[in-house]
Amino acid sequence: MFNACRFFLLTSILALLVNTHSGFAAEVESEADLIAILEADDSPKSEKAIACKKLAVHGSSECIGAVAPLLLDPELTSWARITLEAIQDDAAVEALAAASSKLDGLPLVGVLNSLGVRRSSGTVTTVADYLSSDDTQVVEAASLALGKIGGDTARDALLGNLEANDKAKASLAAEGLIRIAEVAMAEGSTGPATDLYDKIRSLDTVPRPLIVEATRGAILARGIDGVELMVETLSADDRRIREVAFMTARQLEGDGVIDRLIASRGQVPQRLQPMFIRALGGRGEAALVSEIMSILGDASSSEALKVAALDVLPEVGGGDQLVGLLSVAVASDSIVSEAALKALSKIQDEALDNQILDVVKKSEGVKQQILVQLIGTRFLDGADFLKETIRDGDGVVRELAMEAMGNVVEIDDIPFLIERATGDNSDPLTSVALKSLGTACARMPDQKACVGQLRSAIDKSDLETQVVLVETLAAMGGAEALGLLGDLAKGGSTPIQDASTRVLGGWMSTDAGPVLAEIGRIDGHPYRIRAVRGYLRLVRQFVMKQQQRHQMIDTAVELADRAAELELVLDATKRYPTHHNLKVAVELSKVDSVSDLAKETANEIAAKLKPSPAVTKLLESME
């Protein structure tokens, strides 16, 4: 029963929420009022249309009698169907069915479409009558509506058209029948579904897209027995039909399907095997691992097949295949080798991690190099081994081990990296260690402790080392590093101040603003101008809330005492035209060195603002 109070509330909300270009009236209407709009001869069609839309959500069966006549109006029939499809009352379906006999052409098509949406079995006979229409659009609507409604009667009616000597009607019937078959398959009636699919795909009167659909259905409906048809279909002349077979290889369901699919690989044409193995990989089943390793170990396997097998390996497992994959990585041609390395990097399995840590100790040469890198890329607990390798290994593996250190060390090993990063510059390992140190510091969860270690090292180091460690702080980022940089910029030696202010000037967050402003206020600081310009960089280029930018522009005006920096302030005001920034530009028009530019800027800003007496007054205040 329609609840008038609830309707009042809902239509009020509607009026508030709906952004009307025209239609929705602001006043609150009752269902009776909306019905009155529909029944009044002098109501504009626009109002009747919107009334239908409202009734579709809030109307009751009471409105059906008023809506149904609109089905006969070509301009309102679609609006009326919005209502009648929505109201879940048999009377709405009956109104649609009754209207069909009074209609032809597009309005009839629309009504048949709506009957398909409502899926009332009681309307099958009515709809089926239109299968014999001379109007193809009507036949299409009836065929698809019957497909949606389903049931034996609808199926039999469609089968009549499927077998008729009319290609267009047969094609549309097939489309309806496929929908019936899909429902049957979903409900577990795979036998009837298979019969329909097989019938359709055997007809040469049916267009290719429907043959594709029917083939897909025919394979899937057979379950594990569909593997045979799938393999057979891979040899089809038509590319689209072959392609859908690959898709079914991913979708087939049932116990033992993967084993049957694997066993059938030999029947798949060689040139299609890479795509076939990719399709099997998409199933994500571990049973494929041994098949993949078999492909890799088979000298007759093509390069493309091996690459495909390695590409899908991480999706199915392979965590226990380190030795085999290493062999492929070092022995194969470059494309297969690279695929093996990629697989080793991507496989997510703790067992593989443990194998790597175990095998690396017994390896040498290229295999060891690969494993050392994997320790880094997989973030394994291998710091002690890496340190040993750095100490005892040969050139290449030492560098790789040092590089891997950045990804695996914990806080206690930071001093080790500091020591190596600040060592002999002629040692190529030193630059690698510095990079590793930056990587390690950036990922330390306890940034405070890490910065503490760097601070301690800086305190004890010579000037050259200090400068190196400042660069590490830059790589590290974050509030703790920023704090230390600020201290160094303010209180360090001149070279340290140079390095620190350089880093601060390129800092990638607005957090650096207060630090740079502080330095900018220190009279006589050798890098005061650099700090001010760094501050202006933040103001001009970085994303921030308007209020913050206004505050920073005010501070920049305070810090800038040369024309060059004032010009940058004006540039900032121009980039972000607001009333506040207009005031700043007007104020700067009183500074001789930038007066002309400031006036020009003020006028440009004003042109972008909404005209107002305040804006005019500000502009007039400039000479």
Binding site: I87, Q88, L106, E243, D311, F379, D381, N407
Partner: protein, 435 residues
């Protein structure tokens, strides 16, 4: 066990030569743009002869579509051979661009997309009409056996979302929704952190609706319609209910979005950021189920796995448009269109350098689509993922419109004990259209 042991490997991008020479770690530790299938495998190692290219036709190529088209034309294995648009000016402009790109005059023009779909020489279509047409055009394209890249929002309501997924599945075509952020490194990385448990147990995912409201295009005063060759008003209306020509309605981007009652920002932006939240919540096969009435300009919903979804406009870090935030028991991540990431701990980055790509380009998403066309795989934003992301947006809009709590039945996707909400699940198409 060290926390480091929990970190998972990342995509390997180095070549073997670099790998074996020495300094490949940085590259190996980079979360870069997705590489998908190797270029060699796809036959992209050198220039692709026209006979081996994927032939593409465009349907409704306006502002957004023109950008998408550029992403397609960048690909060496694409031949764009036909444009359909209801506006003559647009048809001619796109033909000129395609012809100029390919150095020929072969791009055909159509006013009715059914003519384009009937062509056997077109493999795939780019659908970038207004949202009013997306699901319908995509369905007709699938019926014609074309692979589909379809702009978002892909559907106008819940039933369309389900039907779209069912149709794509049944017809065996490759479908990619135009939610290109799924193929950008920072969004992918953030979702990976959530999906792989590196944030602990995922608790809440946040998305920005960017304005919660409902739009209705209505029936405006009639104006003289241009000649059909210039603007085909009937085809423009398409599945939307009839109304007379009025130029103000010719803004396809906003016309009848979400069926007229439940569109707005939740659908426009949610189809991106709710989609990312869904990916992060490992919920690509299910929508959020329960929705609270909007409160303080927020809507809260919950996925069946207990993860809470919060739609809100306020409180975001300055990381650009379309922000998302994922919160777990052990950490959080937030990112947006700037390409930058904010993390609860730098350890989450664990040495990786996530490639910072701002401006949300669609190039990688288009490449993903084309790769899947060749391998017959499911793209990142396939029909199923798009279906449930859109259902969540539509259901949130229903809660917004009705201003009350609503709950979806997880099996039928019907609202439980709420007839009015269920009436918003679907809307009749103007004749002759249907899906």
């Amino acid at each position: 066990m060290s926390e480091l042991r929990k970190q998972k490997p990342v995509t390997w991008t180095s070549s073997r030569r670099r790998f074996l020479s020495s300094a490949s770690l940085a590259a190996a530790s980079t979360v870069a743009v997705p590489s998908f299938v190797s270029a060699e495998t796809l036959g992209l190692g050198k220039s692709v002869p026209p006979s081996d290219r994927i032939t593409v036709g465009g349907i409704g190529i306006g502002r957004r579509g023109t950008y998408d088209l550029g992403c397609f034309l960048e690909q060496p294995d694409v031949q764009f051979i036909a444009i359909c648009d209801i506006k003559e000016k647009q048809r001619n402009a796109i033909k000129e661009r395609a012809d100029q790109h390919h150095g020929n005059s072969d791009c055909d023009t159509h006013r009715d997309f059914r003519e384009l779909l009937a062509r056997d020489d077109i493999d795939s279509v780019l659908i970038a009409t207004g949202p009013n047409w997306h699901a319908t055009a995509a369905t007709y394209a699938a019926r014609a056996g074309k692979d589909i890249y379809c702009e978002k929002p892909c559907t106008k309501n819940i039933v369309q979302s389900l039907q779209l997924a069912e149709t794509m599945n049944r017809s065996g075509v490759v479908f990619q929704a135009g939610t290109q952020r799924r193929n950008l490194p920072h969004f992918e990385f953030a979702c990976m952190l959530a999906r792989e448990g590196r944030l602990g147990k995922l608790q809440t995912v946040h998305a920005q609706p960017r304005g919660m409201k409902a739009d209705m295009s209505g029936w405006m005063p009639p104006e003289d319609a241009p000649p059909i060759e210039k603007v085909d008003w009937n085809m423009y209306l398409g599945p939307a209910a009839y109304r007379p020509y009025n130029e103000k309605l010719l803004d396809g981007f906003n016309f009848e979005k979400g069926g007229g009652l439940t569109g707005g920002g939740v659908l426009e932006w949610g189809s991106h950021c709710v989609d990312l939240c869904q990916w992060a919540a490992d919920a690509d096969s299910v929508p959020a189920i329960s929705y609270k009435a909007p409160e303080n300009n927020r809507i809260e919903a919950e996925y069946p796995n207990g993860v809470k979804l919060v739609l809100r406009d306020d409180g975001w870090l300055p990381l650009g448009s379309c922000p998302v935030r994922f919160e777990g028991t052990e950490g959080w991540v937030e990112t947006g269109d700037s390409g930058k990431l904010a993390l609860s701990s730098p350890e989450l980055l664990a040495g990786r350098k996530v490639e910072e790509i701002g401006g949300y380009p669609a190039t990688f998403h288009v490449r993903d689509f084309l790769d899947c066309v060749k391998t017959r795989s499911v793209p990142r934003a396939g029909a199923e993922a798009a279906c449930y992301a859109h259902i969540t947006c539509h259901a949130a809009n229903v809660a917004l419109y009705l201003n009350r709590d609503v709950s979806l039945d997880p099996d039928t996707y019907e609202f439980i004990n709420d007839d009015e909400a269920n009436r918003l699940r679907n809307e009749a198409f103007r004749e002759p259209w249907q899906i």
